[in-house]
C-alpha cells in the first residue's frame, strides 16, 4: 500500500507538469483551433530562461520562475505574430505544419545557442524529505504541486472573472461575432498565447528544479503527452486539461512502477486512441453538432 501511495505522489508531481503544458495547448486550440506543436518547445525555452536567470543573474526560485514566465509569454506572442497570424485564414493543415516547423526552429536554435548537451539546473530549492506513514514526499514535490494549483486558480480567475477572460471566451465561441461586438480579436489571441506560454515556461522551470537536467530536445515528449492530456480532458476545456494532465501523469507512473516501464508511452498513446474512439470530444467535452 505504501508503494502504491508513493507511486501516486510521484505521479502527481509528473502530472502537474503535464497539466501546466496541457493548459496552453487547450487554450490555444480553444481560441484559434490550432494544435500548437511548438508548445512543448516553449516549455523547453522556459527551462533555459530559468537556467540563465539562476546561473548568470543569480536569481532565486521565484524571480527565476517569474522571469521564465515573462520570457515565454513574450516568445509565445512573437511566434503567434510571426508564424501563425499570417495563416489565420489558411487551411488548418498549413498552420499545423507551420507549428511543427516552429518547433524544429526552436529546438535547433537552442542547440546552436546553448549547446547540444545536457545542462544541469542548479539547486535553488532545498530538498527536504518528509516521511508520512512510510511515504517519502520531498519539499520540491510539494512546491511543484502547490505552484501548479496556484497557477491554475489564477488562470481560472482570469478566464472567468476578468474582461480579458470574457473576451477570450467570446472569441473561442465565434470570432467574427466577437469582432462585431467590438472585441479586439488579435489582441485577445495574443493574450491567450501569452498566458498559455507563461504556464509552459513555469512548467519548464519546475522540471529544471525537480530533475535538475535540461536539454534542447526535452520538450518533445512532454509536449506530446500534454497534448494527449488535453485531448483526454476535452480539448478547448480548461478544467479538462488539468484533469487530463494529472490522470496521464499518475497513469504513467503506475504503469512504470508495476513493471511495464517499457510500455508506459505506448499505454499513453493507447489511451489517446481509446478516448478518440469512445468519446472524441474528451472526458469533459460535449458533442456539439457543427453547422454545415
Amino acid at each position: 500500500m505504501t508503494v502504491f501511495l508513493q507511486q501516486i505522489i510521484n505521479g502527481l508531481s509528473l502530472g502537474s507538469i503535464y497539466a501546466l503544458i496541457a493548459l496552453g495547448y487547450t487554450m490555444v486550440y480553444g481560441i484559434i483551433k490550432l494544435i500548437n506543436f511548438a508548445h512543448g518547445d516553449i516549455y523547453m525555452l522556459g527551462a533555459y530562461i530559468g537556467f540563465i536567470a539562476v546561473t548568470s543573474l543569480g536569481l532565486g526560485f521565484f524571480p527565476a520562475l517569474l522571469a521564465a514566465m515573462a520570457g515565454c509569454a513574450l516568445i509565445g506572442v512573437i511566434i503567434e505574430r510571426v508564424a501563425y497570424k499570417p495563416l489565420r485564414h489558411a487551411t488548418r493543415i498549413t498552420a499545423l505544419i507551420t507549428a511543427i516547423g516552429v518547433s524544429y526552429f526552436l529546438q535547433a536554435g537552442t542547440q546552436r545557442v546553448m549547446g547540444t548537451g545536457v545542462k544541469t539546473f542548479p539547486n535553488v530549492l532545498s530538498n527536504e524529505v518528509f516521511m508520512i506513514g512510510g511515504v517519502r514526499i520531498t519539499s520540491q514535490q510539494i512546491i511543484i504541486f502547490i505552484t501548479t494549483i496556484v497557477l491554475m486558480l489564477v488562470l481560472q480567475f482570469i478566464v472567468k472573472k476578468t474582461k480579458i477572460g470574457r473576451a477570450m471566451r467570446a472569441v473561442s465561441v465565434d470570432a467574427d461575432a466577437a469582432k462585431l461586438m467590438g472585441i479586439n480579436v488579435d489582441a485577445t489571441i495574443s493574450y491567450t498565447f501569452a498566458i498559455g506560454s507563461a504556464l509552459a515556461g513555469a512548467a519548464g522551470v519546475l522540471v529544471g528544479i525537480y530533475y535538475n537536467s535540461i536539454n534542447p530536445l526535452m520538450g518533445t515528449l512532454p509536449g506530446v503527452k500534454a497534448f494527449i492530456a488535453a485531448v483526454f480532458g476535452g480539448i478547448g476545456i480548461i478544467p479538462g486539461a488539468m484533469f487530463g494532465g494529472f490522470f496521464i501523469g499518475v497513469c504513467e507512473t503506475l504503469i512504470a512502477g508495476y513493471g511495464g516501464s517499457l510500455y508506459k508511452d505506448a499505454v499513453v498513446y493507447i489511451i489517446l486512441i481509446v478516448i478518440l474512439i469512445i468519446k472524441p470530444a474528451g472526458l469533459l467535452g460535449k458533442n456539439v453538432k457543427e453547422k454545415v
Partner: protein, 399 residues
C-alpha cells in the same frame, strides 16, 4: 504551348538550383580545404553534430580536430585537413555522407559516434575502399558484415578503438561478483539503444554464469527524466547491486532518484558514466559507492593523457570526456597508420592498421581478427563525486 515552354524553363532553372546545392555544402558544414590538393591529406570527420546524439558527436569532433591540429604542428605544415560532415544522427543521412566522403577522396574517415549511424555507413565505405575508424561504436560484432552472426566476415576497411559491450558488461559482472561479493543484482537499462541492450545482456549472462542471480530487469528509454516510479518498485526488492546500462545523462538522474528512494547499495555502470556532467546531475553527495567500467579515466592519468587533457582545456576551455578521448585516439591512429604506410593507398593502409601497435591515451592495443582492440577494462570508483580508485579487471570470458 507557351505554358509548356514556361514550365520547361522553370524546370531547368530549378534543376540548376538543385545541382548548385549539391556542389555546395547542401546544409552540412562545408569541407575546409585551404591548401592545394596534391600535398595535403584529407581526413573525413563524420559526426552527429546536431540532433539528439549531438553531444557525443561534438565532443568527438573536438577530439579529432585537436589531434589533426597537433599533427600539423608537429610536422610544421598543414599536411592534414579535415573534411567535416554532420549526419544529424540519422542513419540514412550517414550513408549519403559516407558516399560523399568517398567522392571527396579522403584517406580515411573517423566516426560516426553512435553504433546505429556507424553500422549504416560501413557497407558504403567498405565498397568504396575507404578506411573507417569508429571511436565509440561499441555494439557487439559491430565490425562484422552480419552482426547477428559471429561467424560472418569482417568488413575489411572498418576498425574501432573501443571495446565491445559484451566485454565491459562481463567485466562489471566479474567485479560485482568477485570484488563486491554480490550475489543478487538488478539490471536497469536503456533499451532504446544497442549500447544499453548489449550491456544488459552481457552483464546478466556473465553474472548468472558466475553463480549470481539477476533478481529483476527493468528498462527505460533515453531522454526520460522520471525514474522514481520504477525505483520505488526496485527499492522494495532484495538485492545487492544495481547495474545501470546507459549514458550519464539518464544515469545521473537515476542515481539521484535512487538514493532519494532509499536505495543505498552499490550502483554499477558502463563507460557511458564517464562525464563531468554525471556528478552535476546526480549530486556529489549521492555519488558514493558508484562504480563504472571504462577505458578512459583521469585517475592516475599517464603523462600522455595529462598532456591531452591540458591541451584540450587550453583549446576549448572545457574538460574532455571519454568521447573526445576516443576520437582523439582514433584520429591519431589513422594518422599513425598513414605515416607508417607512407601512402594513402587504401589496401596498404588497411594492412598497416591490421598489424599496428598503437599507444593511445585510452590504452595501448593491437587489433584482434574482428578489428576490435584488445585492451584492459578499468573499474573506477566514485567517492563523494570524485573518481578515486581504478582497478583493472579481466573478465574470464572463455570458459
Amino acid at each position: 504551348m507557351k505554358k509548356f515552354w514556361k514550365m520547361l524553363i522553370v524546370a531547368c532553372l530549378s534543376m540548376t538550383a538543385l545541382t548548385a546545392c549539391g556542389n555546395d555544402d547542401g546544409g552540412s558544414e562545408a569541407p575546409t580545404d585551404s591548401t592545394t590538393e596534391s600535398d595535403t591529406i584529407k581526413i573525413g570527420l563524420h559526426y552527429e553534430l546536431s540532433g539528439s546524439t549531438a553531444d557525443y558527436g561534438n565532443a568527438e569532433l573536438k577530439g579529432s580536430q585537436l589531434a589533426i591540429a597537433q599533427a600539423n604542428e608537429r610536422l610544421g605544415e598543414e599536411v592534414y585537413v579535415d573534411v567535416t560532415y554532420d549526419n544529424r544522427g540519422d542513419p540514412a543521412e550517414a550513408v549519403t555522407l559516407a558516399a560523399r566522403l568517398a567522392e571527396d577522396g579522403v584517406a580515411g574517415v573517423v566516426g560516426p559516434a553512435t553504433s546505429g549511424a556507424s553500422t549504416a555507413t560501413y557497407q558504403t565505405s567498405n565498397d568504396n575502399q575507404v578506411v573507417v575508424i569508429s571511436p565509440s561504436a561499441t555494439a557487439n560484432n559491430q565490425t562484422l558484415v552480419d552482426p547477428s552472426n559471429p561467424e560472418s566476415d569482417v568488413y575489411d576497411y572498418v576498425f574501432r578503438v573501443c571495446f565491445e559491450d559484451t566485454y565491459q558488461g562481463a567485466a562489471m559482472a566479474q567485479f560485482a561478483f568477485d570484488n563486491l561479493g554480490a550475489s543478487k543484482a538488478i539490471v536497469y537499462g536503456d533499451t532504446s539503444s544497442e549500447y544499453g541492450k548489449g550491456l544488459m545482456d552481457a552483464f546478466s549472462e556473465h553474472f548468472t554464469s558466475l553463480g549470481g542471480e539477476v533478481v529483476d530487469t527493468m528498462s527505460y528509454v533515453a531522454g526520460e527524466t522520471e525514474f522514481s516510479s520504477v525505483l520505488t518498485n526496485i527499492a522494495a526488492q532484495d538485492f545487492d547491486v544495481l547495474y545501470i546500462a546507459g549514458y550519464y545523462s539518464e544515469a545521473g538522474l537515476i542515481i539521484k532518484q535512487a538514493r532519494a528512494a532509499g536505495i543505498d547499495c552499490p550502483i554499477l555502470g558502463p563507460d557511458g558514466f564517464e562525464s563531468t556532467t554525471l556528478s552535476d546531475l546526480a549530486g556529489v553527495e549521492n555519488l558514493n559507492d558508484v562504480y563504472f567500467t571504462t577505458a578512459y579515466t583521469t585517475v592516475g592519468a599517464s603523462d600522455e593523457l595529462q598532456a591531452f587533457i591540458d591541451a584540450y582545456k587550453a583549446e576549448y576551455n572545457e574538460d574532455p570526456n571519454m568521447f573526445s578521448a576516443l576520437a582523439y585516439d582514433s584520429t591519431n591512429l589513422l594518422i599513425q597508420a598513414i605515416e607508417e604506410a607512407g601512402t594513402t593507398d587504401p589496401e596498404t593502409l588497411k594492412q598497416t592498421l591490421e598489424n599496428i601497435e598503437f599507444d593511445g591515451i585510452t590504452g595501448s592495443f593491437v587489433f584482434d581478427e574482428t578489428h576490435t582492440p584488445v585492451k584492459p577494462v578499468l573499474v573506477v570508483e566514485f567517492v563523494d563525486g570524485v573518481q578515486t580508485n581504478a582497478i583493472s579487471v579481466n573478465p574470464s570470458l572463455d570458459e
